[in-house]
Every structure is written in C-alpha cells, then in structure tokens.
Assembly symmetry: D2
Homo-oligomer: 237 residues x 4
Amino acid sequence: MNHDVIISCAVTGDDTKVTKSPHCAVTPVEIAATAIAAAQAGAAIVHIHVREPETGAFSMETRHYREVVKRIRESKVDVIVNLTCGMGGYIVVGDHGLKDTPGPGSDFVSQDDTGNLWFVKQMIKEGLLSAPSLIQLCMGIPYGVPADVGHLLAMVNSLPENCNWGTFAISRMQMPWVAQAVLLGGNVRVGLEDNLYLSKGVYASNAQLVEKARTIIEAMGARVLTPAQAREKLQLR
Amino acid sequence: MNHDVIISCAVTGDDTKVTKSPHCAVTPVEIAATAIAAAQAGAAIVHIHVREPETGAFSMETRHYREVVKRIRESKVDVIVNLTCGMGGYIVVGDHGLKDTPGPGSDFVSQDDTGNLWFVKQMIKEGLLSAPSLIQLCMGIPYGVPADVGHLLAMVNSLPENCNWGTFAISRMQMPWVAQAVLLGGNVRVGLEDNLYLSKGVYASNAQLVEKARTIIEAMGARVLTPAQAREKLQLR
Amino acid sequence: MNHDVIISCAVTGDDTKVTKSPHCAVTPVEIAATAIAAAQAGAAIVHIHVREPETGAFSMETRHYREVVKRIRESKVDVIVNLTCGMGGYIVVGDHGLKDTPGPGSDFVSQDDTGNLWFVKQMIKEGLLSAPSLIQLCMGIPYGVPADVGHLLAMVNSLPENCNWGTFAISRMQMPWVAQAVLLGGNVRVGLEDNLYLSKGVYASNAQLVEKARTIIEAMGARVLTPAQAREKLQLR
Amino acid sequence: MNHDVIISCAVTGDDTKVTKSPHCAVTPVEIAATAIAAAQAGAAIVHIHVREPETGAFSMETRHYREVVKRIRESKVDVIVNLTCGMGGYIVVGDHGLKDTPGPGSDFVSQDDTGNLWFVKQMIKEGLLSAPSLIQLCMGIPYGVPADVGHLLAMVNSLPENCNWGTFAISRMQMPWVAQAVLLGGNVRVGLEDNLYLSKGVYASNAQLVEKARTIIEAMGARVLTPAQAREKLQLR
C-alpha cells in the first residue's frame, strides 16, 4: 500500500466533451484557472492539454501551452506542470516556464497497454531513459486494458524495479481506481479528461474530483503529498 | 465492483483489548449501546461477541447474548444481529430475539484461511449448507492469509457461484480493505474487534469506524445498504 | 485444466526466418508437405501463411493458398486448415478447399493484446460474431503482452463465457507455454512461425515441435484431440 | 521460469495406501530400494517417511530411519536424503548418515497453507531460521490451499527474497503441477506419497513418476539437476 500518494489532475481532454460540462476549460485562461484550483484542492501534478480557444478543438500550439504555464506560475500556487505532447513524449515544466523546459525529470511516460510497458523497459535497458519518474498505467479506455484488478496486478508485477507508478481509470471507475492504485502501492489521477461527473447526472469541477480523491486516500490512512514532497519522491530536479 | 455494499460492524473482540481503548464495550448494556450506534451510523449487520461483565474476559454465556439482543430490539433500531458461537457456527437472530433463533439465513460462515473455503464448498456440495448468505474472508490475521490483493483475488475467483461475500483486514489495513472489498465485488466489515484506531494514536468508536467506511464506499460511487435492503440481498427470511 | 487439447501448428511465418532454418517451407508444395507432417504428428489445426516461391517473401496471393489447400486435401490426411488473412480476419477451409470457404466456424480471431480481446467481446455483444470457435492469446511477442503467468491469468479471467481459447508464446517460451495453456484450460499452438529450435542450436521441423507438445500434454495426463474431435469441440460445421 | 530444476521424490506416505499399490514400500529395505531407484531416475532429493515393517502403519522410529539411510549410503548412489519428522521439522542427512545429522542446510520447511508461509517469514525475521534452503508449497490437499494457479501465483509473490522454493500437488494434479512449478520459477516434487498412478488405473513406481517429471521438465527446455548441482543451488554444506 502507498502511504504517500501523489494526486495528478488531468484538467481537460479532447474536444467532444466541451459542450457537455459547464466545467470544461477551453481557453488558456480557463485551463490555467482550473489547474490552479486543482492544485489548491491537493493535486501535486496537473496534466495539461490545450485547445483552440474559439472552437474547443484539440490543439498542440506552443503559444497556448506557454500562456497556460505563464498564468499558473504567476499565481504563485506551487504545482508540478506536466504538459502532454499528444502521444508518447511528455515533458516537465520547470519553474521558469518553457524557458527551462524540458525540466529535469522529463521521464513521464503514458501507458496505453502492456506493449508500451515493454517499450519503456526496453528504453531503460538501452539507456535511452533513466528510471522514469512516474509510469502511468491507463485502464478502462475502450480497446485498451480493462479496468480489472487482475490485469493491474499483472502489470504492477511487471514494472521496472524501484519505479514510481500511477494508474487511473475513466468514467465510473475513476474514483474506485483511486483506491485500487493506493492499495497496490501506486499514485492516482483524476480530472475532467477522464471523467465529467461527481455523481450520477451531476457535473464535477476538477477541484471537486481532487477533493473526492483526497477523501478516499485519507480515509484509507494514507496522506496526500504536496508538490514539494512529490518532487522529492519523484526525484525531480 | 459492488455498488450495493453491506457494512458489518464487529463491535467487540477478545479481552486483551479491553484495557486499551476507552471505547471497548464490556457489559451487555455497553455492547448493545455500541451496536445500536454502529447501526445508526450505517452498519446493516452487527457482529456480536460477549464478555464477562466484571473482568472483560471472553464469554460464551447465553444470558449475556440474550441481554444484548433484548436491548438492541427494545431500541427499535433495525439491524441484522449476527451472534458468533466462537468458532465455525454462526446464527442469525430473528426479530424476536433468541426465541426465533436461529433465524432463516443462519448460513454465515467465518473464513479463517483457504482451507475453510474448501470446507464451505464441500458442505454446499453435500447439501449440508444451502448457498451461504455471506462468506466472510478474514485477512491479515497473523499466520492466516495475508492482506494481499493477489491472495484475495485468488480466493474470490474460487468462491462458490452466486454467493454474497465479504472480506475484512485488521489494524492498519482495515480501511484500505473496505475499498478493496468493494472493488472486487464484496461487502465490508469494520469495528473494534479488528482495529482500535481512527488514526495514529487516536482511538475510534464503532460508529466512527462505520462512518469512515461509509465515506470510502460513497466516495467510490457505491451505496450503503440499510438492514432491510441487506436482508433482501442476502435473502434472509 | 484442459484434458482435451487441440494442437494448432503455425507452419511458416515471415520471410526473415527463411534463410535460417533448413526446415522452413517456402513454396506451396513445401508448405503443404510440412502441414501434412504436422497433422500426422498430432496437430488438429494447421495455421497457414504463404510466401512468394522464389524469394520466400511474405505473400497474400490466393493462388498460393489454393495450391496449399489442394495438396493438403489430396493427401487425404485429415486436418482443420486455418488460413490467415494477414491481420484480423481468419477463415476456415472446408473439406472442398476454397470452394466452400469460408467454412462454417470461420470465427477464429487472433489476439495480439488485451485491446483485441475487448474488440472481440464487443463484436459478440453487437451480434457481429457468434461465440468464437477459438480465441487465441498471443504472448511474448515484443511490445505485445509478455509471456507472464499473471497476465495470462488476468486475460483468461476476462474471456467471454463458454468460449474455447488457446495461447502460445514465441521462442524459448513456446514449449513451456504449451504446459501453461493446458494448466489454465486452454489449447496450444506450436510451429516454425513462432519458434525455429528444438533445443539450443538445433533446428526443429514442425512435426518435431508437434511431437514435443504432445509429449508434454500426455505426460500431464491430458489427451490430444484428432481433427474430428477438434471440430466437435469447436462446433465447426 | 526455472531452468535448473530439482526433483524431490516423496517415496512413501501414510498407511492407508499400502494395500492399494504393489509399488508401495513398507520395510526399510523396500523404502531404501525405491529411494535409490528414484535417485537413479533423476531425483536429487528423496523425502523419507518410515513405516512399521509388519503392518505398514506410519512410524517415527529412529531405527527404521537409520536403516533406510544406511542402505541408501551403502548403495553409493548419490542423493540428498530429506527425513521428515512428522510435522514441521525437517532434517537433512549428511553423507555419514545419522552420525552427522542434522546436516548443514537443515532448513527444509513444509508448507501446508499460507499461514505456515507467514510463520516461516517470521522465523527468518527473528533470526531463528536463516534463508531456507527450500520452501515447499503443498497444494491440492483437501482443506488446504487448492491446486489453483491464482493461489500459487499469490503465494509465490509472497515468498521471502532469494529463496529456493518448490511446489507439488496430489493425485491427478501431480504431473500438471510439475509444469506449473517450473513455469513460475520453482522446483518439483513427485512420488507415491502424493499420487499412486501413472495413468488411469495404472499404478506407478517412484522411478516412473520421476521419469515422467523429467520428461516434462526437459520438453519445456529446462534441465534436471543432479544431487551435486542441487546441493550447490540450495547451498547445502
């Protein structure tokens, strides 16, 4: 069991969800604001995608990322900013925004299925990747690995030695999977990228999802790490 | 995952714990009171041991059981009363106390290790036991089955078809195990028989333990069954 | 445990292996011959890829498939012929070759990772696929699912109800995986498509690999099904 | 997977089996003879119980053990002799028989259920036992742990670090379990104490059971260790 849990919050996702929930952030201003709120609720890491401000469509534009990071840093709220690069590559943003990015510890790797875990281990073996800061096992995404305890257990038993890892599941399994991650020694992820609802028919904000995860973690007797404690655990910088 | 969770509260245990916590119930009056409080907090089942009122030593005296049951029924608080018979045999108390006991559904079987699960399945096969109301898997008790997810998964996969089951763990693993039980489709148990603490150094009352279990269950998106709903799920009476 | 085991033999694979082993079949004549030998050794199913006869390069040419099937049928050796269509679609060849193909039971689906298993279950759910004859779990292929018992167990527990299934692993794990498949209730696959060696440095023929699989299966107390028995178990035709 | 497999042969068991099979050894002469034959067939360890010579009833008499050991040593056939002490304590016999017994490495512990595994780990923790030579997981004995892959996997994942281990199952599961042990990295045990039959209705000798285990092990690509190699692997003497 993991007693020192890092909460990641994936604050926004693909465009189809934009019109559904009033909490979905679209513009860099909104994305930064929801990330700050998530951090204040207890998220040590915010996982950032950006969108086209007018349409909400998925975007990879550096200027949107730049604005999000700038606003987060200006708020003085401490949080580890994890920018996605769409698929595969992830970078950690240093305290000075994109100026010192990728920051040390840019080893986050997204896990889509057991094949990617093989790939990560191969990269470590070939010296292309030092022991990753955080391996994330994504479960429950249709046609990926099902959010099933047996599968997670098998994957956890296959992880590289001494790595930090997390796992998350989508929709209804998001919160139960917070508990499952902690029970097996991992870290957690919540956020509107993976689930829109607080309960049946009730939309959630990112802060509310983080609070609910915190409730579960603390009721189980574990503690939620601050960004500073998370940096130390993940050996960032 | 189990979305309709039955909370059992094991309100008091063996005598060595009596002198430790101020919340430990000793006399039938105290045991009944703590059981009632647990029921009001959300426990659908209370699991009852009794003690010698003067010494707190473990007792099997019918008159103590009788008094506990009488007081619970007089309170008009609805709860399923599950009396232990020390080892192996369990009986369910009907609404009229020991007069109509064992009540229908007296099929609770305590699981100490995988051997007992074999025994239960054998008894069902030989027609000595109809499909049990609730098979309870006890984990984390020294020299029994460790509170380990792999072991629980293996046991859950070996359960008889279509049975209700629950699992609990002791001490620090009590609350995490509430989450694990729900995740794998089972019911839960908390209470001072298995753990004395709310958090490090802070003693718990049974009601507080039930409340914490409820918090975890509801945060995971499941609901806690009332005694009436539990009777229906377990097909009692 | 599976006591009625179907051996599939995947007789040839991709072109890179052609120059390595003297047993690799390239021309339709050679492919048919090695398939017949595998059937005589105990394979109930032969899994057929074809090659360009001159170069040994991978081919999808119908005429090569046609010739292979014709020669197998002319030999009068009974075996279930399973032609691959490269990726995803598989067809069963009836007794009259490609004339009555796809034969009934053309439900073989290749499993590359847990995502495909999800896809199969979805297709069954949507009525696009009746309960498959044989779900094949491929393990140990780099970047797919590792040939790990925990992973296999999780996948086996996720299979559709009442399906037949098999699993195989490549290289050194081919023969151990024959035993693992049988232990968990599945069928087996061997053949030069997945492994070239009988032992360290010693090339194998398909017949030798089938014999070795048979040795393991029978030593474990199970029996190897004939093609006729396999058709019945898989409910073909 | 274990590529260097130690075969233990448990040559005789409790008295009820005596009248069933013509191969059951009763007198010290017979027990020694069957142990020697098992060793010649490939068993690196022979696991010895003794019986009352007239009745075949179970015995703990030192003089019977002494005679068995003397005869084995006089044959000059090398094998590790593992005498049982009924329950719990096991001793290794040195080359000079009971004169230098318990020999170094007398750390064999029999595993009846997960509780004993807990006990072993506790003894190691308290310094009462140095890292055991061989932890044996017994499965499939009624009311013990079922011979189920999930259970074995959970127990294997709970073993102390860097220990050697083996597992065996009884009756029909004896030979399949040889394969399962090897697949998960363990050593194997066969013999008439656990199973009387070579196949349905056909009684087995210990040598035949050892040969069959050897067949499975070698077909899987592993090798069977000699007693000398086994002593080195187990760090005896």
